[in-house]
Symmetry: C4
C-alpha cells in the first residue's frame, strides 16, 4: 500500500488478463471483477489502464466501490504528477456560455427547463435522459394525449381557497406528485438524487428512489424531515440474493413507505439517442452478431452485450423471469412494505393487480416514459381503458400514472380521470440539470402554480373533488382499445398458467 | 406649490419609505399609495425616482390620478431642463420603417391587420394583446373550430337584398357584432377605447367597455349618437365599495344598456408572452417563492405578486369569491340594468344562468380569448353542447360567443348555430394598433363585406333566417363533451351548495 | 377619319368628362361608354389617355369593340412614332429564362404543368387563375378529399381492354371530362379558348364555353369537327336583353348541346390573390366606403366598385335575382337546349333540380373551384350527400362534378361515386399557359393515361362499370352533413316561397 | 470471328436497320433482336453503336445474352485501344465521399440503412427502388398504418425465452420474414440477389426470387443450404411459351417451394421518380402520342412505349389477360408447386383465392410497395377487412403481407392481426445497396433484435401466440371499407363471368 504508482505503469494493464484502472486518485486491479460487472465487461475494458473517475463517478453510488471490490484490489495511490495533460473530450464540455443561458426564474415552463438543462448537461447525460424507444412515438403520445383532452371550466363559484394536498397510500403529501424512479441523477448534476429529495421536501412531494440511483438510499434520505414520503424501486436481480440484501437495507429506512416493483422494462427498449452516444464514445470493438444464436434465444436476454449506452449498462443483471405467481410471494417473505406495481399498460394487468390486494396497494400506469415498447399506449389510455372495462380497480387499489407531464393542466386531467398521483421523471432530471436543487424547486414551483390556476378555473377547491365531469376526453376515448375485455379468461389464465 | 423640482431631487426618493415619481411634468409623492396600488407595489417601485409618464399613461384613464391621490401628494412641477437625455428602450421603439408597412386599404383580412399592428405597436402592447394561456392551444382552437365547420351554400334564390341588422337585448344594431371587453386600448394607439367607439358608431356595432379601460366610460361615450349601444364590463373588486361606486356612475350613462359580469378569469391564466415581456422590462427583483405558503393557499390568489406583466397588474384587486347565490342579489341592489354573464364554458353553467332570467338576460360563451385555462373549449363547443343538452336555454336568454373570429364566415357560422351576437377583442385592438379609428373601421368594413358575401352565397337575406341547416358542423360535433348531462344534479347542487 | 392623332393629343383626354384610349393603333373616344362598361368605370379611367391595348386585349373577345362602340367613337389612327418608349412593368415580364423551364414532355403531372404555367404567364393571369376565396380552404379541400378516398383494386381479371368513352347528355365523348367554364383564357396564352377546343377535339372531351370567354363562341368553335361536344355557360345579366341576344346567337351553333346556368357565384367570392394583384397594378384611388350604405344593402351587390381585380371586372352586370320559379320559365322561352345547373352544393338543391327535369337534364356539383364561399363543401361531399339523402336524383338527371382534379385516380373516384362527367378549369388554363394547344393536349394525355392505368388496376374495362364497390370513401363519409334531410320541407318551400 | 473491331466501325451501326452494341468487350449485331427486346426497342437504340455494358450488366442475368442471341450475332472482340476516353456521367458517380458515410454497425434502423444506400447507389438504382406511384400516398400509408396501431404490452410474465421461428407453407423458417420479389438487385450492388440469399440463409428467412432478377435462379440458389426456403415469382408473359420454359427450369430446383403469381401490377403504376430519371438519361426522342389511339385501347397495354424508365423496360412482355378461370388451370399443367397469389387488395379477392385451395395455398396482401395504384390500401387494411368480412380465409390459406415495414414492431403487429409471414422488398435492396451481403445481414440483425424486444415486452414467447389482443388497431379499423360484403355476389360472379 505504501507504493505510489505512475500513470505509465497503470497503462500497461489494459486487457481482460490484467486490468487496472485509476479511480479517485487510487489504482485498482479490477481483473477479477471485470466478468461480473453488472454493466458488462466491455465498458470497463474501454477504460482499462486509464483514469476512469469521470466516467465512473456520476453513475455509481459512493461506497459501492468498497462494497464490490476485495481490499487487496486497491493497489495504492497514483502519483498525480505522472498523469498526462488531458483535453476534455468535446461531448463532455459545457456546450454554451453560461451567460447566454436563461436564468431559472425566467424559465416559465417545462420546455424552458429542458432547454436550459440541454445546454448545461453533458451530451451523454442528455442522450440518456432524452432518449426513448425507436421513433419516440410513445414519448410524443404521452404528452399529446393530454392536449387532446379539453377542460370544462366552471364559473361563479368562490375560488379563494385552493388546496393541492392529498395522500399517497395514506401518507400525506402537499401535492399529488411523485418523482418517477429515474436513474443516474448525478449524470445531470452533482446534487443527484439527494438534491431531488431536498426539492421534494420543500414542496411536500413524494420521491421514488431508483434502483439504479447514483447515490445510496441512505445518502438520498439524509436530512429529510420525518414526514417526507419516499418509495423505493426494485429491479429484481437475476441473482436474487442481491435484491434480498437491498430489501433488508430498505426495510430499515422508515421514511420509505412502499416498494415499487418495476415491470415495464424486463428488457430495455431501443433508445437510439442513447445508443448513438454510446457508439460515439465507445471504441471500435465489433458489435455482437446476435444472429449466431439462431432463432430461439433460450437464455435470458443479455443487454450487457449491446454497445456502450447507459441503458445497456444499467439493465445488466435485471431478471426477466418475474411472474405474478412466484415473485409476489417471494417479495412477501422479504418485506412487509406495501407493493406498487409499475408499468401496467392494459386493463387486464390492472385487473390482475387488483386481485393481489392487499399486498399490492397500488399500480403505476406507465410506458416507462416511452422508453420500452414504442407505440405502447400512454398511461391515460390505460386509465380510460380501466374506466371502461373494470372501473372497480380504481376502488380496490390506488392507480397512479406517469409520462408526458408538461403542464399543470396535464396533472389535473389525470387526476380528473381517477389517478391518485401523477409522476414525472424527466422533469425532475431536467430541473436538476438546469440548476441542481434550485432547478428542481423551480419545476415544482411552476407546476404547483399551474395546478392551482387550473383548479381555480375549474372551480374546484380540493384534489378529491376533481372528476370526469371536469374534462372532455372524447377525442381520446375513441382511440381506446375496443376488443373483448377478456376478464373471465384472465381468471382461467391465472389458474392455468401461473 | 411654487417650488420647482429637479430630477436629481426626485431621484433620491426611490424606496418604499419615500417614493416619488414624475407624471406629466409634475412631481408626486406616492409613498402612501404604494401599498394600495391595484397593480401592486412592485410596479411602482420599479419606476420610483423617475419619470413614469410613458409607462403610466397608456394604461390609466385620464383623471384617475386626481381621484386616487390626495391633493397634498402633488408636490409641484419638475424643472424639465434637469431631465437626463433618454434613449428609448429598444422594446418601445417602432420596429420598422413606417414606409414599409402595408397601407390600411391594402389590408384584406384580419391577418393583414394584425401584421400591420404588430409592426406599429410597442412590444409590450403586442405581448399583452397577443398572449394567451400556456401553449396557446385554446387560442388556436378558437379559430380552427370555425374552419372545421363547412358552409352549405344554397342557390337559385334572389340575393339582391342582404340585411345584416339585428338586435342585442332588444337594442337595434346594424351588424350583430360586439367589441368584447378588451382592456388597455391606449397601449396600442392613443385613440383608445373612444376610437373604438367611433368606429362602432360608423358601423352600428355594439361595444362592451372594459372594466380596465384606459379611458373613463364618460370619455369613451363622448360624442356617440343616442342610439349607439354600449355594455359595461364589471370585474367585481374585492373591495365591493369600489364596484358599487362604479355602478352608480354607470347607471347614470343611458347609452350603457347592460352590465357584463365577467366570470371566466377569477384568476388570470398564464400568459407567457406577456410575462416574458414583463420580465424583460422589469427589474431583477427576486420573484415570489410561492411554495413558502405550503399546499393550501387559503387566502385569495394574489396575482399582484407575479412579475411585472400587464395582466398581473390588471387583475390585482379582482374578487375571487363571486357566486350565483350571493353576487346576483348584491348586483340587483346596485343596478337595474340587465346582466350578461361572460365566460360560460359548459352547458351546466349556461343552464344555471337561464334559471336566473330575467335578471340575467344573456350569456357570453367565452374562454377569454384563450387567455384563462389553456385547453378550455372554444365557445362554439359550448354552443353545440347547449344545443345537445339544454337547447331551451337559447329560448330563455340570449347566447353570445366570442373568440377566434377571423372571417365573415366565422361570424355567420356562429349565428347559424344560434348565437345572437358575436364578439371580437383582438380584432378591434389590432385595428386600433394598425391605424386608430380608421384601423378599427377597416376591420369592420372587411368583416361586414365578408358577412354579406357569405349570407348571399347561403341565399339568406336576414340574420334571423340563418340556421343550422346552413352549415355542416359534423367534424366538430364528434368532439363535443359526451358525458352525463348532470342537469338534475344541478338543481340539487343549487340547493345544497349555494 | 383622315386625321392621324399624336400621343400627346390623346393624353389630354384622361377624365370622365373626356376619355380617350388607344387600342390596336387607333384612337377611341369612350367617354359615353365609360359609365356602362360592364367591368366598371374605374378600370377604364385608369387607362384613360394611354395605349390600353395590352390590358384590353387578352380579356375581350375580338370584335366586341365594334359591337360596343358607335362608329363615331373611333376617331382615327395614332401616329405610332409619337408613342413614348415604354418599359414593361415588372409584373408583366416573363419571370424566368425560357431555357430553365421544364419542357412539356417532361411534365409528368398537373403540378408540373402548373409550375411551368406559373413561370410563363403574367403575374396578373396567374393571380386570376390561382386565386380562390378567403383562406383557400375549399380549394385545398377540393383536392384532399380525393386523397382521402382509397381505391379497391381487383385482380386476376383480363385487363387488356380499356375503354374510356362515355356520353354526356347523350352525346358521345372519348373521355368523360369537360372543361369547366373558365373565363379569360387569352390572359394565359394567345391560343385562348379556341386552343382549348382544339385540344378537346384531339381527345374527344367536352368543353363548356365561358360566358366571359376572351373569344367569341363562333371563334372558339371554328374548325371543330361536327361531333365535338360543347356547352355554353350563361351568366344571366341584370339587363336580360343582353342574355337573350346571346341565347339567340348560341341557339344557332349546333355544336353547342346544352346551356350551363351558373348559380354558384351570384356574387364573387373574396379572391385575395386576384385582389392584391389588382391593387398593385391599380391606381391609388380611394376604395369604396361600403359602410356608408348602412346595414341593409337593398340594391343589387355592386362588385364594379371593388378594386381592379379581374374577377370584379368580370362579375359586373351579373344578375343576382335568379330563382327556380322565374328564371327557368324565362330560359325556356329563349332556348330549347337542355339546361345544366352549375354550382349546386347541397342535396336539397340537387333534389329541387331533379324536380325540374326534363328541362333541367344535369347538374354540376361545384364550389366554383373554391372561388365562391370559402369552406363550401367539395363536390364529392355533395355527391355523397345525395347518395345518402336522395339517391334517386342520380337516376333522374346527370350529376357532374368539378374542382380539385389533379390525377386520373381523382377522376375515377368521382365516377365510382356516380358522377357522369368530371370537369376541370384550372388544369386547362394552366395547360394553355404552359404551352398553348400543346400544353392542354399534354394535360389530357397525362390524365387519360392515368385514368386508363387506374381502370386497369381496378380491373374495370368500361366507364359504366365503375361503382362504389371500387372505392373506400369511409374517411370522407364521416364528415358529410348529418342533419335532417328536409326534403318534405322543400316541397312546401317550393310552394310557399317561389 | 478472328476479326477485331474498332470503336469507329461499331459506331456506324446505330439505327434500327443495323444496330451493333459492345458488351463485355465483344461486338454484337442485335439488329434482329431489337424489335423483340422485352424492354422495348428504344432503350437499345439509345445505346446503338456504343459500349452498352454499364447499362446492360446490372439488369440482365449473366448468361441471358447467350440465351437470347443467335451465335452469329456475336461478331467478335473489340479493339479496346480504340475506345474513346469516357467521363462517367454525373448521375452514375458515387455521390459522396465513402468516408463520410455511416458504417453499417452504426446504422440503427431502416432509415439509416436507406440513407447509406442512397449515398452509395447510382441515382438510377435509387430512383428505381425509391419510386412509387403518383404522389407516393400508398407508399406513405404503408408505413403510417403501422404507427397508428398501438401495442398492448403485458407484464409480470417470464420472458427469458423468445422464439421467432415459424413456418411458411409448412417449411421451417427462423424468422417469419420473406424478401418480396424485388427486381434488379445488381442495380444496387454486384452481390445481387445471390447476396440477398446469403443473408437470408444466415437468419433463416425466406426469399422470393423475382421474375426479373438480375441473376438466374440457379445462380441465386448456388451454395444455399438444403433447408433454405425459396419461392419464385412468376410474371406470366404474353408469350406463354417463355413462362412455360421458365417453369420447367424452376420445377427442377428443389429449394424453390412455391410459385408466387404476381397479380397487382398487370400494368405498372406511374412511378415518377423512376420516369424522371429515365427522361434525364434518355435521349430526346419524342414520346408516344397515346391519344392517337382514340378512347378505346383494345390492344394490350404497351408499356414499352413509355420513356426509358427501369419499370417500363421491365414490364414489357407481361401478360394482362390473366384470369381466375384460365390461368390457374394452365399453371396446374406446368407445375405441381403450391401457388401463392400476390397483390390482393380486397376481401373479395382474398375470399375468391380461398376457394381455389389447395392449388392456391397462400396470398400476399400487397399494393406492390405503393408502386401500382396510388391510394390503394395498405396490406393491413386488407387484412383487417378480411377479419371483418370473411375471417375463414385465414384458416383456409396462409395470408402474408408486405409493404412499409420499417420496425420490428411493424412485423409483430402484422403477425398479431393474423399474417403468417411478412415481406420486405426495399429493406433488402437498400441493405444490399448499403453494403452487399453484410448490409442485408445488418437489416435482418436489426429487425430480429427489434422483433425479439417487442415480443418480450408483449410477454409472448412464440410467434403463434401473438394475437389481436396484443394490439389496439382501433384508429385503423375506423377507416376500413364499410360497404356491402358482396360475397354472395362473388359466387355468382364466378359462375357468370369467369
Amino acid at each position: 500500500m505504501g507504493k505510489t504508482y505512475t500513470y505509465d505503469e497503470v497503462s500497461q494493464h489494459r486487457s481482460a488478463d490484467s486490468c487496472w484502472v485509476i479511480l479517485y486518485g487510487n489504482v485498482y486491479d479490477v481483473t477479477k471483477f471485470v466478468p461480473e460487472h453488472p454493466g458488462g465487461a466491455k465498458i470497463i475494458l474501454q477504460l482499462a489502464g486509464q483514469d476512469a473517475t469521470e466516467e465512473y463517478d456520476p453513475i455509481h453510488p459512493p461506497g459501492i466501490l468498497e462494497e464490490s471490490l476485495a481490499p487487496e484490489c486497491k493497489l495504492g495511490p497514483l502519483d498525480a504528477s505522472t498523469l498526462p495533460a488531458v483535453e476534455k473530450p468535446k461531448g463532455e464540455e459545457k456546450k454554451e456560455d453560461e451567460d447566454a443561458i436563461m436564468p431559472l426564474d425566467h424559465c416559465l415552463n417545462m420546455d424552458d427547463i429542458e432547454a436550459v438543462a440541454t445546454k448545461k448537461m453533458s451530451k451523454k447525460a442528455w442522450a440518456y435522459y432524452f432518449s426513448a424507444a425507436d421513433d419516440l412515438r410513445s414519448k410524443a403520445l404521452n404528452n399529446t394525449v393530454y392536449s387532446d383532452i379539453l377542460l370544462r371550466p366552471r364559473v361563479f363559484v368562490d375560488i379563494t381557497k385552493c388546496d393541492t394536498s392529498s395522500t399517497i397510500l395514506g401518507n400525506k403529501v402537499n401535492i399529488p406528485l411523485f418523482v418517477s424512479p429515474a436513474a443516474m441523477a448525478r449524470l445531470g448534476h452533482p446534487d443527484g438524487e439527494h438534491g431531488i429529495a431536498r426539492a421534494c421536501s420543500t414542496f411536500g412531494a413524494c420521491q421514488i428512489i431508483s434502483n439504479n440511483a447514483s447515490q445510496t438510499p441512505e445518502q438520498i434520505l439524509e436530512g429529510s424531515p420525518p414526514d417526507q414520503v419516499f418509495g423505493w424501486q426494485l429491479y429484481v436481480q437475476r441473482d436474487r440474493k442481491k435484491s434480498e440484501e437491498m430489501l433488508v437495507r430498505i426495510n430499515r429506512l422508515t421514511k420509505i413507505k412502499f416498494i415499487v416493483l418495476t415491470l415495464d422494462a424486463p428488457v430495455p427498449g431501443k433508445r437510439e439517442h442513447d445508443e448513438r452516444e454510446g457508439k460515439n464514445v465507445g471504441s471500435n470493438l465489433p458489435i455482437r452478431s446476435s444472429h449466431q444464436e439462431g432463432s430461439s434465444s433460450t437464455t435470458s436476454p443479455d443487454p450487457k452485450a449491446a454497445s456502450g449506452s447507459v441503458a445497456s449498462a444499467m439493465f445488466a443483471g435485471t431478471a426477466g423471469d418475474l411472474t405474478w405467481k412466484t415473485t409476489l410471494p417471494w417479495l412477501a417473505k422479504h418485506t412487509k412494505l406495501p407493493i406498487v406495481l409499475k408499468g401496467l399498460q392494459t386493463h387486464e394487468d390492472a385487473y390482475l393487480a387488483s386481485l393481489y390486494a392487499p399486498q399490492v396497494q397500488g399500480i403505476i400506469l406507465s410506458n416507462h416514459g416511452g422508453r420500452a415498447a414504442d407505440t405502447a399506449p400512454p398511461a391515460i389510455h390505460t386509465l380510460i381503458e380501466i374506466r371502461k372495462y373494470c372501473p372497480e380497480v380504481l376502488d380496490k387499489i390506488e392507480v397512479w400514472v406517469d409520462g408526458g407531464i408538461k403542464r399543470g393542466t396535464d396533472v389535473v386531467k389525470a387526476l380528473c380521470l381517477g389517478a391518485k398521483a401523477v409522476g414525472m421523471g424527466r422533469n425532475a432530471l431536467y430541473g436538476l440539470g438546469a440548476g441542481g436543487i434550485a432547478g428542481v424547486e423551480r419545476v415544482y414551483e411552476i407546476l404547483k402554480a399551474e395546478i392551482e390556476t387550473t383548479m381555480r378555473l375549474l372551480a374546484v377547491e380540493k384534489i378529491e373533488d376533481l372528476g370526469p365531469q371536469h374534462i372532455n376526453a372524447r377525442a381520446v376515448e375513441r382511440d381506446i382499445y375496443d376488443g373483448p375485455a377478456g376478464l373471465e379468461k384472465l381468471s382461467m389464465w391465472i389458474k392455468a398458467k401461473l
